[in-house]
């Protein structure tokens, strides 16, 4: 009997053929620890009685939520991160290079077929290169640091098949938002999402990353894409036999198969305050906005900045509307400087911050107050995430966000 992609990855990891529902113990190829959780991870690690991490080369520590710090106590996490890295001989330490989920693939850690855990729910992101990756809590991370392994249940898979050509004003963000709306916020809980079809094949690596990143918003344990030549190029590898085999088999058993026609997708937004509350922008037109946020591990990549810049080129954001741009990584920021994108965005009035989680994690980067409206390209619009509980957050694609910034009201690109 055939296997889904995630079943193949886990089988490869444990050395035997697995099926959904099996409880297995997997070995981590990489773990990702972010600054905001480091104080807790280290304290649990010590409390558990460990003294050495199982393999320092497989541990990546990334300061991204609180760099530069906006509150004096934030620095504690920075020092705990640096000190733990130094004490444990962990050289994979990034103190100001960008957002963890961007760096895990960009900096060359995660490769197709890997099994990766991170102390952040958007760890599902690395499925875009054909890895199994999922978010866990800090207690569990402490245990993995000590042992290198963890138990998990092999998830069943929902196959999402998309074929056709997307309209020019539709981005992969619109696609994943629509799918989350259809699945609902809990619709994929414990499950793996497997994306395929010719629309996916023709998507850029960056666009796929946006979709994998947001799988958690439907509750999914992971999301996986078949690694192809674009993936190999991005990961700077040649796919080996195992990596090339990461395709859902014809006779694999899927929990559900959802078929979409690319032509049916339209620009949408997730409206306050649920990610699965999806409304076409045509029905939202005219809502006044105070701020637009372009960034995050969901949509802070070069492609996203360039799409926004194409819309903003030679124009200026609406009066009294703030456009905050936070590139996802140092590399992306520098590439966007190099190719003129940053200049276009700045000339259009954007406030461009250092790469970090920024506003998405709600600690800095453009906090808002009662009755203000923000259109944002990140992954969550939960109540109170970007300020008071009376802030209204709409999630959108970079194109829609840019068009909205120009108009000052919600607008389709």
């Amino acid at each position: 009997m055939g296997q889904t992609i995630v079943e193949k990855i886990i089988s490869h990891n444990v050395g035997r053929k697995v099926k959904p529902g099996d409880i297995v113990t997997v070995k981590a190829d990489y773990v990702m620890l972010d600054d905001i959780m480091m104080p807790f991870i280290v304290s649990k690690f010590n409390e558990m009685g460990f003294s050495k991490v199982w393999d320092p080369t497989k541990v990546v520590i990334i300061c991204d939520h609180m760099v530069p710090a906006s509150q004096t106590d934030d620095i504690r996490a920075y020092h705990i991160s640096c000190d733990f890295a130094s004490k444990q001989g962990i050289t994979n330490l990034h103190t100001s290079d960008g957002i963890c989920h961007q760096l895990m693939t960009e900096a060359g850690y995660v490769k197709p077929g890997h099994v990766v855990f991170g102390t952040d729910s958007h760890t599902t992101t690395y499925g875009s290169v054909g890895a199994f990756s999922t978010g866990i809590g800090y207690t569990e991370m402490a245990a993995i640091l000590g042992t290198g392994e963890v138990w998990m249940r092999v998830p069943s898979t929902i196959k999402i098949n998309i074929n056709g050509t997307l309209a020019p004003n539709v981005m992969s963000k619109d696609v994943i938002l629509k799918i989350i709306g259809d699945l609902t916020a809990a619709g994929a809980t414990y499950k793996s999402l497997e994306f395929c079809g010719d629309t996916i094949d023709s998507m850029s690596q960056s666009s796929r990353t946006t979709m994998a990143n947001m799988a958690i918003e439907a509750g999914a344990k992971c999301a996986v894409f078949t690694p192809d030549t674009k993936t190999a190029l991005y990961c700077d590898i040649e796919l080996d036999d195992f990596q090339s085999s990461l395709v859902g088999d014809e006779d694999a058993v899927y929990e559900t198969v959802l078929n979409y026609k690319a032509e049916d997708f339209v620009p949408v937004m997730a409206v306050p305050s649920n990610v699965d509350h999806i409304v076409p922008i045509s029905e939202l037109k005219g809502i006044k906005v105070n701020q637009v946020f372009l960034g995050s591990c969901t949509n802070g990549r070069l492609e996203d900045l360039m799409e926004a810049a194409a819309i903003l080129n030679g124009k200026h954001v609406a009066p009294y509307v703030k456009l905050i741009v936070t590139p996802a990584s140092r590399k992306i920021y520098m590439e966007a400087m190099e190719n003129g994108t940053i200049n276009v965005l700045s000339k259009a009035g954007a406030i461009i911050t250092h790469p970090s989680c920024g506003l998405c994690c709600g600690r800095t980067g453009g906090i808002l107050t009662d009755d203000e409206v923000v259109v944002a390209t990140n992954n969550r619009n939960f109540l109170g995430r970007m300020g008071t509980s009376k802030v209204k957050i709409y999630l959108a694609s970079p194109k829609s966000a840019a068009a909205t910034a120009l108009a000052g009201v919600i607008t389709e690109a």
């Binding site: 409390e47 558990m48 509150q71 991170g118 809590g137 569990e140 916020a185 509750g219």
Partner: protein
């Protein structure tokens, strides 16, 4: 079988981790410092009212959102004996078990309590068997063995301490 009674706080569907523990307070040094802000975006007064032994009954997808383990820790620290929901988000479920916070899935209790507007009423929970509310019994399923092992050890930290020969 263990059984206990507790006063119920009713919450809706999709109670996310930003509601349970907003990001702003995540870097506080201790869970105790975070406690007063639990559920604050939705019900700012709630944390002050919750007493030891209370029970949360909620709808679908409780704990969705981020992987922040402060969420179940804070719920436990508030004195909540268990959370009963129609369903739980995956990471929250795992984090709760790892911290020894009891979670029970039940599809019908929530609807019945909402219908009866029963916040503040007392229910009786018999672990791995059933829940009693208003004269009716709601059966619950047992947890898988591997999770029972972690809970029996008193959470993952204790399990690891045992493994490392400390306790």
């Amino acid at each position: 079988m263990t059984s206990f009674e507790g006063r119920v706080w009713l919450m809706g569907d999709d109670i996310d981790t930003d509601i349970i523990m907003p990001t702003e307070y995540l870097v506080y040094k201790t869970i105790d410092e975070m406690k007063p802000y639990a559920f604050s975006p939705l019900r700012p007064e709630l944390a002050g009212k919750i007493a030891d032994g209370d029970i949360i009954v909620a709808g679908n997808n409780f704990g969705c959102g981020s992987s922040r383990e402060q969420a179940p820790e804070v719920v436990k620290a508030l004195g909540i004996k268990c959370v009963i929901a129609k369903s739980f988000a995956r990471i929250f479920f795992r984090n709760a078990i790892n911290n020894g916070l009891l979670l029970i899935e039940n599809a019908d209790l929530y609807d019945a309590m909402v219908k009866a507007n029963a916040e503040g009423k007392t229910i009786k929970v018999t672990v791995n068997e059933n829940i009693e509310f208003d004269g009716k019994t709601y059966p619950i399923v047992s947890l898988p063995d591997n999770l029972v092992e972690i809970i029996n050890a008193g959470g993952l930290v204790k399990a690891m301490r045992k493994r490392n020969g400390i306790d």
